[in-house]
Subunit: 501 residues, 2 copies
């Protein structure tokens, strides 16, 4: 009987996708659970990916005129009460600070000091519309002060009962953009512009194809007039909401008195937006590209593009091989990819060759090189391309160096195309409820179903029953007369339905 091919990750995606995900996170040294319920420790390799995400997004935010600032971690409880829908959305899952001191409890331990109870409890920010809005009310006095275009990189806390690393954790890292505009049109333009920025980032940097669309009423941000999102499809054919951009209308402006004097001298309410992406993107990255050997990283976000493993048996070999590797590293760093020097590491740790190589495979490094005395004699390096897998091949050293940037670009493109192909293969148009029910029946693979629909309780009930969600109405969907598959009512646009994270 033929042995099955061995994989670094067990179980495989086919065997148990959710467990495969956890094992990839572990095997790639991305994160681990902490001693605090629902909070994770982001390990150096995982954090380096987040830093690359941050650096690129930050540059894109600045290029579109935004500036960073920082607002308090805490929100007075009364602030949440101001916007009715908002409090409904966030009061159920927040960390509440009630005391500002501990004292001995008389039994050798500590307790919150009763004498240090806060007059008004503070909420650890689940999102910052209310606390930032209070500041904007001071900043926006005249039309000359607008627009206000601010972004904040921060940690937020939403008390989740069921957590999964990167995808849903009690504390997570994110950026939240908050802007104030003089007109409705300008605020809508901003909302859409940032959705475009997110989509461009997802596709160009994460190599993750996304659908840009508007959320249905039930999926809207609490307090928003319209929520737009980018939706990606993971390898298990479930959708992942990867970023959102909200047109808040005048809801927060009215709740928080964000008013300004317009050019005509009248005092009027402003229009606001907010938009955010989080460490959830790392989860999306993992589930879009990784395979049964672990993480696969798109080069643009990889902490290392190339890892070089020197191979030697004797001290004499060692000197020769290391000196060759040092020069190789220097030559590679002199090459540029994506406007930056190629990122190279030499791993000379004293670990058995095979184990070390697998570690970097599992960590998803795009190009893994082994260099031994024989390779050097032949003027070669032995190259394994992570996206293709397999044993790798000997490549003339000069050729590898000269082409490294092109090879990385090729990998980036190949990953995007593979993901787009998978997504397109799992995309269908469905025009009847029976077909829809069959498509999302338990045990069937499902995917992204584009269907005519009319938002309402019939749809919500059926979706709940099938454990399917309305993802969005694609922005670029053409108008097309049709009938809602749930109610038969007239519809002019298809929405995207899927199981989702």
């Amino acid at each position: 009987m033929a042995k099955p091919p061995k994989n670094a990750i067990s179980p495989t995606r086919a065997e148990n996708y959710p467990e495969w995900y956890q094992q990839v996170v572990k095997a790639a040294d991305l994160a681990e659970t902490s001693d605090v319920r629902g909070c994770m420790v982001i390990k150096p390799w995982g954090y380096a990916i987040w830093e690359n995400i941050q650096r690129q997004l930050d540059a894109m935010f600045k290029a579109t005129g935004h500036e960073n600032a920082y607002f308090p971690l805490f929100i007075p409880m009364s602030f949440l009460e101001k916007e009715a829908e908002h409090v409904e959305g966030f009061a159920k899952e927040c960390a509440v600070v009630t005391h500002h001191r501990l004292e001995p409890d008389g039994e050798g331990g500590l307790q919150p000091a009763p004498s240090a109870k806060l007059e008004e409890p503070l909420i650890v920010r689940p999102t910052s519309e209310t606390i930032i809005g209070a500041t904007f009310a001071r900043w926006a006095q005249s039309y000359r002060d607008l627009p206000i275009l601010i972004n904040q990189w921060a940690n937020v806390v939403r008390w989740e009962l069921r957590t999964r690393m990167f995808l849903r954790t009690a504390e997570f890292l994110w950026q939240e953009g908050h802007t104030v505009h003089a007109t409705k049109e300008e605020a809508i333009d901003e909302t859409r512009q940032m959705l475009d920025v997110y989509a461009e980032f997802a596709e160009q940097y994460m190599a993750m194809p996304v659908i840009k669309g508007e959320k249905t009423e039930g999926e809207r941000f609490p307090g928003a007039e319209a929520t737009y999102s980018i939706e990606a499809m993971m390898q298990d054919r479930k959708a992942l909401q990867a970023g959102t951009s909200h047109f808040l209308g005048q809801n927060f402006a009215k709740a928080q008195e964000i008013k300004f004097q317009n050019q005509e001298g009248q005092e009027v309410y402003a229009w606001t937006t907010s938009w955010g992406v989080s460490t959830r993107l790392v989860g999306g990255l993992i589930m879009t590209h990784s395979d049964d050997d672990g993480l696969v990283l798109p080069p643009k976000l990889a902490p290392a593009h190339v890892v070089i493993l020197p191979m030697y048996k004797s001290d004499e070999d060692r000197t020769e091989v290391l000196s060759f590797c040092d020069q190789l590293k220097a030559d590679l760093i002199a090459q540029r990819y994506d406007d930056e020097p190629v990122r190279v590491r030499i791993d000379d740790r004293d670990i058995r060759g095979g184990g070390k190589k697998w570690q970097w495979v599992k960590r998803g490094v795009p190009l893994l090189l082994t260099v031994g005395a024989r390779d050097i004699a032949e003027g070669e390096v032995f190259v394994s391309r992570r996206d293709i897998g397999g044993k790798g091949q000997g490549t003339p050293r000069e050729e590898f160096v000269a082409n490294v940037s092109g090879t990385l670009a090729e990998i980036q493109q190949a990953l995007f195309e593979r993901a787009a192909k998978l997504r397109d293969e799992a995309t269908v148009q469905i025009d009847s409820l029976a077909e829809f029910e069959k498509y999302f029946a338990e045990g069937s693979p499902g995917g992204l179903a584009h269907c005519h629909f009319v938002d309402g309780p019939e749809m919500e009930a059926k979706l709940k029953e099938l454990k399917v969600t309305a993802r969005c109405v694609p922005i670029d969907a053409a108008e097309e007369a049709g009938k809602c598959i749930f109610t038969g009512a007239d519809s002019l646009r298809r929405g995207v339905f899927a199981r989702a994270y």
Copy 2:
């Protein structure tokens, strides 16, 4: 009668230094108070300075082998109980999370839901030795896992009653390095290495001269065996502790079971360190260089090196002037300073020229240019150097562009030298208590007094009476026989004493 010279900041430093500080923070748009007690809003200009601080320090940490990671915001209360001195130091001033949900209070408001009370309260991290140590206990298994060299950029909360923007706020931003080593010597080397990194950053980037030294027992980090600090002197001759590096010995390793198997196969406790700097550095930057016209920024940390103000009266002028300014900006950006393109902004807002110029003076931009039609005709730009002040002067355009990098370097150096001169002028050796009491008498300017001392209750009592603190024992202080000015006991080294922030 001659009019006194007008200044942008009122009061001046001489009139009321603490109030001058608050007015500079305000006039330079650095930060403002928030709606949460003790927490500030860091505004874009202030945050951009912090970003520059972060970027440079981050590069220095990485160059010394450290990697970034992220650990939970919350610390279980029981973790604080593990290290006796540590809890003593931090339990008195921390934000305590006791509930994870709000619910309607029946009177139209909200309250923490009694059914959502946490079994164990969580502390918002005041510093992360305990939560990171718990993780390190898992990471450190064998000597092969060491050293562990981690840094975290994060927000922390210490419930302060008396706050002052940047210098002391309930929430602040910082970095905290945490490392684990196999030997005591290695841990001490790390502690000292990071002190050197901080000193280099302070002097080379902030242009702020510092004394590197060891803290006395009373000023040590709770739980540390030795605390080192960099101490700067502000223009009011008070000292500012600007960064600390702690050798934690095995205190935290023992409290948290950070053990590893050494090369001989024995399980032994590790040695740990921690080190941090915070947004307090921004306060130090302000108080080291700023003058009665507002902020003065060292070029290496300035968000903009050059601000160009186009001046015109007619639309025709406007086109010509703006086109000249755009080209000037492009030419300046093509120049490099401190390994990066020169940072240039054009401010073409529709604001009366004088007000706009003063805004940039108050914000501390190193080089402020005004460009009008006459300047263009003469091939000149009108340049004001912020560190020198005065009216400025016409300079041939090409000459300005060609020399801009050199001019910025000159400003950076001049600021350091000015601060060093002030510090040296306010540094004395004092050898008797009477002299010491006179030097620090109420109303006298004070400064940095280098004195022989023996740490103990007599000294502590006298210092408390005089409102003076022991800053540190300089690392490079030569051994020198002397007598403690407080007790007459033999002493071998002088310490630095000062009033302090």
